[in-house]
Amino acid sequence: MKKYLIPILFTAAIIALLVFAVRASMSEDNNVKPAESTPAAQLTDEQKDELKQGQSKGADDAKVVLSEFADFQCPACKAFEPTLAEILAENEGKVRLVFKHFPLYPSPHKNALVSAYASEAAGKQGKFWEMHDKLYETQDDWAEASDPKDKFVEYARELGLNTDDFSRDLNAEAGKDVIDRDKAFGTELKLSGTPTIFVNGEEFDLRSGGGAEGLKAKVKQVVEEAYGTGQ
């Protein structure tokens, strides 16, 4: 028995040591991030206005505006969708969500740009958010496709869009102005990736801010400040 026990204890001790060291060095990495992104923390009024422009969801007169820089081919953005939906549902009438395009194109997401065009092409027919949801839902099916346009037209059909118009708009790079502008704006804000969230013009660092739960808490706090705690 002792023959096994001591090696087991030694093995466990070495592993505990390694895990501890890895965790310590990883949390150190995370702490560096917010410091790097501080230059973008204080935005000008012009930039804050720009954050409110774009396809949006929720009450138009909401006092709290969430702006999300996202990429339809980004799995982290997809994973983040339920959180945003929850925040909107919990704060109905008080929060508006603005979508800002930040396609990580051409690398690592080769279909990020064309999927952004697809969303805006659907937007021309008033169904941006339906296509937005559809694109995330089907992400794995088109992410690495060599030409995903046929699939996008299929989704448009499923959403009840006029597919002829959709195809034409998709091929004409619908919303290119908006997408290019968002991308340039995101670059100006020194975004490190997607999703990046701004709450009333203030960047919320997902890593140091506690991820989805942290964002929910932050929004709750900002909503209470804007509307009072009683409501």
Binding site: K3, Y4, I6, P7, I8, F10, T11, I14, I15, L18, V19, A21, V22, R23, M26, D71, C74, P75, A76, C77, A79, L104, S107, P108, H109, A143, E144, S192, G193, T194, P195, T196, L206, R207, G209, G210, G211, A212, E213
Partner: protein, 157 residues
């Protein structure tokens, strides 16, 4: 016995170092898997796609695949510690059998990255490399020790 363990001291060092490298790597992956909520895609992304895929967890109980990696290397390390502390050569059959399981699993996980997820994850590939090296050394060890250890460890087993 002491003589044999001296002669095969290289194996303890090689397997030991590979196991430690594997544990570090798999621990990083496990932590990344659990903190994926705060993860984002950057211009050099790819890893998050693999780590958030359905294959990043076992179909039952939601155990992260990366955690199984930690368990795999932990057992390799145990085989090494067992041999070091009890001053005997590393057991050949357990090492070969266990490293074969690791190698086959890595092969499967690497194929999933290549053909299904179609994205690569640096640390996953590093782990595949580590387990492949362990497998290769286990084969080498099996053949180099065949004649020497057999008689000695037969008595003990």
């Amino acid at each position: 016995m002491a003589q044999a363990s001296k002669r095969f001291g290289w194996s303890q060092i090689v397997f030991g170092l590979l196991a430690i490298a594997g544990i570090i790597d798999a621990t990083i992956l496990t932590i990344e898997h659990y903190t994926r909520d705060g993860l984002s895609c950057g211009f050099t992304g790819g890893c998050e796609r693999v780590l958030t895929s359905q294959y990043s967890e076992l179909p039952i109980l939601g155990i992260p695949t990366a955690l199984l990696g930690v368990v795999f290397y932990a057992v390799v390390l145990f085989l090494v510690m067992f041999s070091v502390i009890n001053r005997e050569p590393i057991r050949r059959l357990p090492m070969l059998a266990w490293s074969t399981i690791g190698f086959v699993s890595s092969l499967g996980l690497t194929s999933i990255q290549a053909f299904i997820i179609k994205a690569w994850c640096q640390y996953c590939l590093l782990s595949a490399l580590t387990s492949t090296l362990i497998f290769i050394f286990a084969i080498v060890y099996w053949f180099t020790t065949r004649s020497t250890i057999k008689k000695e460890s037969d008595n003990e087993d």
